[in-house]
Structures are given as structure tokens and as C-alpha cells.
Subunit: 418 residues, 2 copies
């Protein structure tokens, strides 16, 4: 409990993909590196020794979470966005003499989307493979678009909005005989579902600390031994020259502990979250008329539930839930300020109006059955209230038609129902 | 006091430029943003409100430290290295149609040096203006090398090794009528000496949090209103599109408090540090034969003292001081693993062998007169001991000459004395 009236602890927080609290064990482990072992890991005197040691322990822990062969395959970054920039530009630039064709999916995170746009401006050609209605990339489609000059393939592991888990293993197997570097954005999945890079031949993998209850401002890029990428930033040559800048020791130490906890507790916590998630999905789809689950019922992140509610806007629901003390997202948390419909839902062939009616719940360690039940109790009333005011609801459209004639509303209403 | 035998609190730590402890007031301010206000500042629900508010307060505080006109001129980064990458590439890329000539100094920080090398590989032409024996850039030299196609000028404020404070104000005045963007790396100086961007027309300024007792992994780039730069990384478009990636709220909050404390306490702390610095300089140069101060006696950072000690190696002194419980640097902290002589000292025309005999002391809030006196007490004995073993000392060279003839040692010894 806190003294602040709108403190998250008093709220029902179901937006863990947007931001997560740092685990108390993580924070405890970080503490000495702020005030006591604050030396520079690069220093050759004693003050550098403990920070250096702790950083390598963290590297080992992150490597273990991914079952990487060697801890040196882990390059610490300032977060997922920097990791994906390093991965994609680093690999594309390195291979530019061989080719400039890149393959990705239509439902990547905004960071990958914008990195790809930047590469296109620099003369790279980007092919975006489509997804099916549940958001799955078809492996045969990836195979089809591969070319001799394809140098990088980037497919996210779990979609950050609808939680769909891609067939990464099959894509890795497909790419194994090719020269293409395989990058996987695993920011949403690492620490939540098992990842085994000893078995699955991913070359580059982006992960982030806060998504597993570690501190913000830290992440890592896994770079498989033998995969050569160019540095994006220059400086003191830290992280084997791939990520310059004095190391954020407390952040890295915290990330290491967060990765270890995620690894140890994954099985139990995942089972618990799947229980909550499915309770939420059942409750919402049963109790709210005209509501649909976005994404696949089971092949999704344990903590993700994403719905669309016809005839209402996601943002209005979000604000009403907020007033009721419940935090959720209406679309990708990183772009929630924009009122654009989700590119992910559009790619899943959800009509524009329905895509704008999406609500995304990402559950976490703090959530309970009681909280899920409370959401299921509150949500139907909010949807009902908003529909009563909505110009898009069938009842209101019928009424408007009878009073004002059909006019241009006709086409729009028709589309909504398709 | 700590339970660990080699804990910094038991040591005399005079390597604050390499890494600094986080101020307890800073840490206290950060705490709630790890566990309570952990929401995403971009979220439109209540959980995003307090992180967003706190981040803007921090922006205001950092702006105040620099006397920036508007807080929006502050772009938060992951540290000094990222800041300088964004500044230099961002400005050079933006202006590439107008010209590709860049001016910098011979004594920049390793990050700026390596960013310049990267720009050169991309077809930019870089002119490095020399410095005098104290490390000062001659403003007339800058004027002389300016061309119509000069788009960026980057001169550091305080040198990180020898503390020399550059005539930034005069260079800014010189550049005012030109179209060149003026970048200043102020990582070593911000929070230590006054900076007034309301008066001095710097366009881009890189600063870092840990250098003012804030957390590691955070920094900022000041971007003057009207100065247009390109983003280096792509993503969710945070920080006005210039620095994508979910914001490190606790880090940014800590940085803000650190900037405020530095601002408030600068005058008193600077006076105190100048006292300690000058006591150290007097003690060392008086008590150690053949020792010289590198850089200017007074126009230097309040906390920096850098010496060279003929006939001994910096690293040997560093390790001996370390064994005596004193942490200092032998050269640039970020490159201390390399045994290269300092490029800064070489640029100041210090002979190679003497450049390798440098020791850098950077003082901080934790240091006392007693600590300075202890260093002055211990250092002469260490230097004496090492000189007795050194093949470079005049006595030993004379002895070796008499027993083994002149051979190739002749030339080397002669150079050392030049």
C-alpha cells in the first residue's frame, strides 16, 4: 500500500507488457552496485574487480535462460529497441556485399517495423510475409520468398499484442542450410516460455530485462558464435566492440537475477498464468456479447489475452476501466498514444473498426483470480454503457437510419459487420 | 563500512571519472519507480501518469543544470556514448547534402574518436585541430580549418584525462555566423563547472548521469531548438523520435535529482575539490622528483590531477597504489585495458615514454584532505621503488651502458629525456 491514491498497488494492473515492477530480489541484488561496487568494470585496479565479476555472473545467468552455449554470446544493451537495431542493422550491413534482401513478418513490434523502414531508405529490400487469422506466419511462405540475396530473416517469437507464438523452430530449420542470418525478437516471450538456443538455430535474439521483472534500461542481444554483425554505435569498445559505453553494472546485475528467477520459476508461474488467462478469456467472451478473442486460444503467451468488442472503441473502454481502477492497453503499449488501429490485427484480417475495438490484457506475477473475476464483473457493464452511446452499434445505427436516412453511414456500418 | 575486505569504502578512491557511487538522495528518489510507479510513461491509463510526470520533472532539472531554454531540448539517452553517437551521426547525416566536412580536436574522448572514424569510413572528411602543451585548442586554428562544407564541429568541454577546459564560449561565438552545428562533449564537465547554454550557443551537448553521482546507463543529449538531427536508432518514437525505446524511468528520475544536487552544490563542492586538487598537485610535484603536472595548473576541472613520473610506467604505479588501497587510473578509464600511451598526452607533445608514465586522479565527494595527504605520503615511496627496478631510470641506464654497451637502449633512453 502506498500513500498515493492512484498507486498501482491499489489498482488491478493487467498491463505487464507495457511496464513491470522490479522483483524485490532483483532490487536487493542491484543495491550494492549503486553505492558500494560502483567502480568501472574496465578498471584494472581492485574497484573494477567486483563489478566485472558480477557482470559476468549476470551474463552467465542470461545465457542459461536461453540455453546459449557460451556466456560470451550475450551482449548487454540498453533494452529491446537497441538490441533489435544492433541485430538488424548489424547483420544487414555486414552482409551488404552479398545481398540486400530482408524477410520479416507483417506483425513485428513497432521497433522492428521502423528499423526495416530505415533499412529500406538505405536501399535494402524488405519482404513482409503475411499471417493468418490467428497471427501465425506460414513457414512455407517464408520459404517461398527466400532468395539468393536474402541476408537477414527477422520473425518475432511471441507477438507483443496478441501473444501468438510463431513456429520459430521450423523457420530456424528452414534457414539452417541458407546463408541468411535469423533474428528473433523475443522481448515478449523470453522468461515466459522456454527458449532453447542449444537446439534451435537462431543466430540473433533480442531480449529485454523489464519484461522479466528486471530493471528498465537494460536488455541483451544474443549473438551466436560465428555470426558476424557490425556495431551500430562506436565508443570504448565494450561488449566485444558490439556495444560501446560504460556498463550499467547495477542494471546488468539486476537483469541477471531477473533471468535466473524467470528460469527457475517459469514452469510454475506459466501454469498459474495460463489458468488466469483462460479464466479471463472464458469470463469475457461468455459475459460480453459480440466479443472475440484475438489470436489463438492456446498457442499464445501464457499471460496474454486480447479481445475485440464490436461497436465500441478500445480507448473508451480503456479509459472507463482506468476509472474503475483497472490498467490495460488498447493496442501496442509503445504506440498507445497513436489512435491508429493495430497493424497486427489488420494483418490478421480483422476489419479496421473492429481492430480499433481491441483491449489487451497482459497478466503478471501480481495478478490473482480475484482480480480476474473483478475484471470479468466490471467489463460487461462498461461495454454495455459504451455501446448504448456508440454511433456504431447496430441499434443506434438502425435508429439513425430511420431518422436521418442512410447517407454515408450505410457503408461504414456494413463494413463493421463483415 | 562493509563486510567485504576490498570494499571501496575502506579504500581511497580517486577514480571518480571511471565510475561514481550513486548519491543516497538520488537512490531514494529512484526507489518508488522500480516497484510502485513502474508503468510505461506512454500509457494513457493512470499507471503511466506518475512515471510521465516524474520524467518531465527530471527533464526540467537537467535543463536547469545547463540553463537550457526549454526542457524539451533535453533528450534522454542511455549514456554519454549513445549521446555522442546521436549528436555526431545525427548532425552529420542530416547535413550530408550540404557538406561532409567535420572538425574536431586531437584530444577527444575515445567515443568521439571512434565515431569520427566510423564517419570517415562513410565518406566524411574529418579535420582534427591540434592542441598546445596544456591541451588547449587554439580558436584561431578552428577558424582556419573551417570550410563552406563544414557541417559539424565537435570540441569537448573538459578533457577527461587531463581536465583542460576548452574555450567553448569563443568557439561558439566563432561558429555563430556559420551553418556548422556545434557539438560539445560535456560528460566530464557537466555538474562540475558552470554551463550556461542560454549564453553560449552550443547546438548539441552530450552529458552523462553517473559523472554527477546519478545512476549508470543514463545520459542526455541537449538539442538546441532549431537544430535538426537524424535519429540513429528506430523504434517506438520516444523522446520526440530521437531516442526510441521504453524509457528508463527510475534512471531518468535519478539523473534529474543528481543534476539538481550538482547544480545546487556546485559552487561549494567545486571550491572544496579545487582545494583538494591543489593540495594533491603541490604534494606530489614537491615530494616526487621528476614529476610533472599534465595540463594547465588552474584552467582544469576542479577534481582532476594528472601527473607524469619519468622513468616509471603508469600501470606499475597504479597496481602498487592499488595494493596500498588507493584506486586511480593510468590513462583514459574507458581504455585502461590497452597499454597504448594516452593520445591526449601525445597530442600535448609529451614524449611517448613519459605519456606511459601518467597517473590520473579524479577526486569526488567522498575524498578528504586526510586521503590526499595519505596519497602524498605513499606515492613517493612507490615511485622510488619502481625507479630502482626500472630499466629506464638514468641510474640504471648508466649502469647498463657501462656493462652491456650502448646498443639499442641508447636511442630509447635519449628519447625519454627529450
Amino acid at each position: 500500500m502506498t500513500s498515493n491514491g492512484d498507486a498501482p498497488s491499489a489498482r488491478i494492473y493487467m498491463d505487464y507488457a507495457a511496464g513491470a515492477p522490479v522483483d524485490s530480489r532483483v532490487l536487493e541484488a542491484m543495491a550494492p552496485y549503486f553505492t558500494e561496487h560502483f567502480g568501472n568494470p574496465a578498471s584494472i585496479h581492485s574497484s573494477g574487480r567486483e563489478p566485472r565479476r558480477a557482470m559476468e555472473v549476470a551474463r552467465e545467468r542470461v545465457a542459461r535462460l536461453l540455453n546459449a552455449k557460451r556466456k560470451e554470446e550475450i551482449v548487454f544493451t540498453s533494452g529491446g529497441t537497441e538490441g533489435s537495431n544492433l541485430a538488424l542493422k548489424g547483420a544487414a550491413w555486414r552482409a551488404r556485399k552479398r545481398g540486400k534482401h530482408i524477410v520479416t513478418s507483417a506483425i513485428e513490434h513497432i521497433s522492428v517495423i521502423n528499423i526495416m523502414k530505415s533499412l529500406q531508405k538505405d536501399g535494402y529490400e524488405v519482404t513482409r510475409v503475411p499471417v493468418d487469422g490467428d497471427g501465425f506466419v506460414d513457414v512455407a511462405e517464408v520459404e517461398e520468398v527466400l532468395r539468393d540475396d536474402t541476408t537477414v530473416v527477422s520473425i518475432m517469437h511471441a507477438n507483443n499484442e496478441i501473444g501468438t507464438l510463431q513456429p520459430i523452430e521450423e523457420i530456424a530449420a528452414l534457414l539452417q542450410p541458407t546463408e541468411a542470418v535469423f533474428h528473433v525478437d523475443a522481448v515478449a516471450s523470453a522468461g515466459k516460455v522456454p527458449i532453447d538456443l542449444g537446439r534451435v538455430k537462431v543466430d540473433l535474439m533480442t531480449i529485454s530485462s523489464n519484461d522479466m521483472y528486471g530493471p528498465k534500461g537494460v536488455g541483451a542481444l544474443y549473438v551466436r558464435d560465428g555470426t558476424s554483425i557490425e556495431a551500430v554505435g562506436q565508443g570504448g569498445g565494450q561488449e566485444r566492440g558490439l556495444r560501446s559505453g560504460s556498463e550499467n553494472t547495477p542494471g546488468i546485475v539486476g537483469f541477471g537475477v531477473a533471468a535466473e528467477i524467470a528460469h527457475t520459476e517459469m514452469e510454475a508461474e506459466s501454469e498459474r498464468l495460463v489458468g488466469l488467462r483462460d479464466r479471463l478469456i472464458r469470463g469475457v467472451t461468455e459475459d460480453v456479447e459480440d466479443s472475440l478473442l484475438n489470436g489463438h486460444p492456446t498457442r499464445r503467451l501464457p499471460n496474454n489475452a486480447n479481445f475485440r468488442f464490436r461497436y465500441v472503441e478500445g480507448e473508451s473502454m480503456l479509459l472507463n476501466l482506468d476509472m474503475a481502477g483497472i490498467s490495460v492497453s488498447s493496442s501496442s503499449p509503445c504506440t498507445s498514444k497513436s489512435l491508429q488501429p493495430s497493424h497486427v490485427l489488420l494483418a490478421c484480417d480483422v476489419p479496421t473498426e473492429e481492430a480499433q475495438s481491441a483491449l489487451q490484457f497482459t497478466l503478471g506475477r501480481g495478478n490473482t483470480e480475484e482480480e480476474v473475476d473483478r475484471v470479468v464483473e466490471i467489463l460487461p457493464g462498461i461495454v454495455k454503457k459504451l455501446r448504448a452511446m456508440s454511433p456504431f452499434s447496430p441499434e443506434n445505427i438502425a435508429e439513425m437510419r430511420s431518422t436521418a436516412g442512410h447517407r454515408e453511414r450505410h457503408g461504414r456500418g456494413g463494413h463493421q459487420r463483415s
